[in-house]
């Protein structure tokens, strides 16, 4: 007991971390099982199907030719992997998988840490916890320990899934798994800092997603230009281990660990500095009366989601501008190519390389814009369970106004985000390809709008019909993303892919815009949204 007194001063702010950790583990078990299972399952699926699709060195070298352009490197990884496609299926696997799988891993850890820190604080759930004999920093510590455990388990699972890849060694598999662990830890640490800055869960998520997006762009730009830019990206470090290649090295993971340690230290310093429930920004007295515009539930919804809209606007514009810059260099790259190489790159058609690139990029920008729109839908549920909507629901507001206006806010967010991505792409793309390309690129982006609308409507319908399982919308997102991006690599039945609205969009500008599909998808989105409104009208509202 005497030593306990001495220790108390040092440890008091962390007291109870162990108890909280067990509690958090229990609370997040379904989240963890779903995400870990999903990531590991996907890794296993790809580790089986990729070697089947590319059984010999010849087929892999052909694929490498197709991929060795700045534009494609931007979306996969550094040239060090491409150079050894022929020698090792492992290198091809890592190159194809890492960038995107790591980005999704980042998403998982951002959601996990925000949920356990800022989101809990926002709903006063952790107020109950903090009144217990539990230290001021214990909840953050427990959240980070949980992330560490989850990251370790993820690494182990991924390692297991890739041990079966032909011609690879166990050490390589372990390193491959560890890249996931490192990414998980890094983004947990990044989110821990973000959670201290804003005072909403959505701000914390938004900031962390902005960092993720920035990392993604910097890594891609670094790979495309073969510059050192990837070194400022948390997503870059794991891929710079060149796992499965002869140049394989472990130390870039050390950078991730070092940066994470510094961020964790910063997060703990910030926790000590701020008041419970507050962000880093000091509270200023606000308006005594409301602006004239704030006169409906819809106006309130748009005000509440304004920050998310700005996050989407800036992120998507940046994404578009960056992809646009690569688009230009894709063209230059093509000119330096031999006739045969060019043919492989353009899928045998006479269309220019930037056209096939435009298809891929506009689709991906649709996926990204969806993330922000789905966050808006999630906000609607929080307004409800947090009890804030109760005052609105007791006012002369129809259900279509509240919570229905969140559908409108998500639609505006998703549409504006998608279009700004297209605008950025078209602006920079046209500067190198000529102004004829401007309209083409904008149209290529508009082409994907109805597919975006369908997914937003489906997320809204989940809110209307199965509000408790609204998080299924992320599963939906993961599904359309995997089908869209990895679909060609996966050996799956055709109908599985055809459920995704993105698969029904014509690959403009490679082929003509299918205006019938465009109209049908728009109608489908409208019908699903109607169903969502019916659900919203029919169900009980679930206030705390």
């Amino acid at each position: 007991m005497t030593t306990a007194v001495a220790e108390r001063d040092d440890l008091s702010t962390l007291a109870g971390t162990g108890k909280l950790l067990r509690f958090y583990l229990r609370r997040t078990r379904i989240f963890l099982i779903a995400w870990l299972g999903g990531l590991a399952g996907f890794s296993w699926l790809m580790s089986v199907s990729l070697p089947e699709l590319y059984p010999d060195a010849q087929s892999r070298i052909e694929a490498a030719v197709l991929l060795d352009s700045p534009a494609m490197r931007f979306m996969t990884g550094p040239v060090e992997y491409i150079d050894v496609y022929g020698d090792s299926v492992g290198a091809m696997f890592a190159h194809q998988m890492l960038m995107w799988s790591l980005a999704v891993t980042g998403v998982m850890f951002i959601l996990l840490v925000t949920r356990l820190t800022r989101a809990d604080e926002e709903t006063s759930r952790s107020e109950v916890v903090r009144s217990q004999p539990i230290g001021r920093r214990a909840d953050l510590a427990a959240a980070l320990w949980l992330s560490l455990i989850a990251a370790a388990v993820l690494g182990a699972l991924v390692t297991l899934t890739v041990t079966g890849i032909e011609g690879t060694e166990l050490g390589q598999a372990v390193l491959y798994g560890l890249t996931f662990t490192a990414t998980g830890i890094t983004f947990a640490a990044i989110t821990a800092v973000c959670a201290q800055i804003g005072s909403y869960g959505s701000t914390s998520n938004g900031l962390a997603f902005a960092v993720l997006g920035f990392s993604f762009l910097m890594a891609g730009a670094g790979y495309a230009q073969e510059s050192g830019l990837a070194w400022i990206s948390p997503i870059g470090w794991p891929e710079l281990t060149f796992v499965y290649t002869p140049e394989q090295r472990w130390w870039p993971l050390g950078v991730a660990v070092g940066v994470s340690a510094a961020l964790v230290w910063l997060a703990f310093a910030l926790v000590a500095k701020r008041d419970f429930g507050a962000g880093m920004l000091p509270a200023r007295p606000g308006r005594a009366t409301a602006k004239p515009g704030l006169r409906s539930a819809t106006a309130l919804t748009f005000r509440i989601t304004k920050g998310m809209l700005w996050t989407a606007v800036i992120s998507m514009l940046l994404l578009g501008l960056t992809y646009g810059s690569v688009l230009g260099s894709a063209d230059e790259f093509l000119e330096g190519m031999s006739e045969t190489q060019r043919e492989v790159l353009t899928r045998g058609s006479s269309a220019p390389a930037e056209d096939s690139f435009a298809v891929t990029v506009t689709q991906i920008q649709g996926f990204f814009a969806l993330i922000f729109a789905l966050l808006v839908i999630g906000r609607a549920r929080k307004e409800e369970t947090g009890g804030r909507g109760e005052l609105l629901a007791a006012s002369p507001v129809a259900r279509s106004g509240w919570p229905g206006s969140y559908y409108a806010a998500a639609m505006v967010n998703g549409t504006v985000g998608t279009l700004l991505g297209g605008l950025g792409l078209a602006l920079v793309g046209a500067s190198s390809l000529g102004w004829d390309a401007f309209g083409k690129l904008v149209l290529a982006q508009v082409n994907y709008l109805p597919a975006v609308w369908v997914v937003i409507a489906a997320a809204f319908a989940l809110l209307g019909w199965v509000p408790r399982f609204g998080a299924l919308r992320w599963l939906l997102w993961l599904y359309v993303f995997i089908v869209g991006y990895f679909g060609s690599l996966l050996d799956m039945p055709e109908w599985v892919g055809k459920i995704s609205p993105f698969e029904h969009v014509a690959e403009y500008p490679l082929e003509d815009v299918d205006w019938v599909a465009f109209a049908v998808l728009t109608v489908v989105a409208a019908v699903i949204a109607m169903l969502g409104f019916t659900g919203i009208r029919r169900r009980d509202l679930q206030f705390s």
Binding site: G286, A290, L300, G387, L391, A394, V397, F543
Partner: protein
Amino acid sequence: MNAVIRTEGLVKRFGHVTALDRLDLEVTRGETHGFLGPNGAGKSTAIRVLLGMLRSDEGRAELFGGDPWKDAATLHKRLAYVPGDVALWPGLTGGETIDLLGRLRGGIDKRKRDELLERFDLDPRKKGRSYSKGNRQKVALVAAFAADVDLLLLDEPTSGLDPLMGAVFNECVKEASAAGRTVLLSSHIMSEVEALCERVSIIRKGVIVETGTLAEMRHFSRSRLRATLKNPVRGLEDNEGVHDLKTDGLDIECSVDTGALDDVLAQLAVAGVAALTCEPPSLEEIFLRFYGDELAASGVPNGEGAES
């Protein structure tokens, strides 16, 4: 149509839990109606059904003669609601919230709003996240009392308010009542209900077990009688209207049914009375009678006893 609120056989289930079990509640125009019951008795559920937030499983509910589920938005123009636990938007100030809620009802009386802010001593410039529980409650109260509506639905509105503000609240309810508004006040603070409400309904496990004016309830209840007599009295224990009789020399103490008071007083007068106190039952005692068995189950002795 004299009933502002009327429910008949209202049933609401959440999974296996029956929150409302054939609830019959009636609140007439212009009255201030107390809605009494402990936590979990179904008060908030009943109010949320009346507000069209929850859909009833069986039975009927009427609000101003309309269907609270189907016509929710229209009916809400005529009422204001204060929940027991007010959650505010962290980024909106109290003033903004009050204005928004007022405008949703078609405008707010600026003078009245400012007067109420003054009376409740509320700073409208603070952001929602920095208000304490009591101040969050005040934001909703100011918005409700400033609204030009026919009905106030108040669900444990004073939780978190200090006694001073409790007094301001009582005044505001009285003013609202004087202006002809109907008030449904759900509470478990007996003094508040006793001071404000003409009629009271007691809810237990989703059923109304008693409803009526306070006077009626007292009538069916027992008064507490204490006396010091000049001579011993006989035959008191034989009177069927006398309960829990305790005799200590010339001091007696008992509960007396209202109907038996005449007889008992006559008997005491014969013996000669040196001192006498007779108290009507407090609302708390009436209330506890309906919960006597629950108190007993949790080990609290209850002098009034379960219903005999």
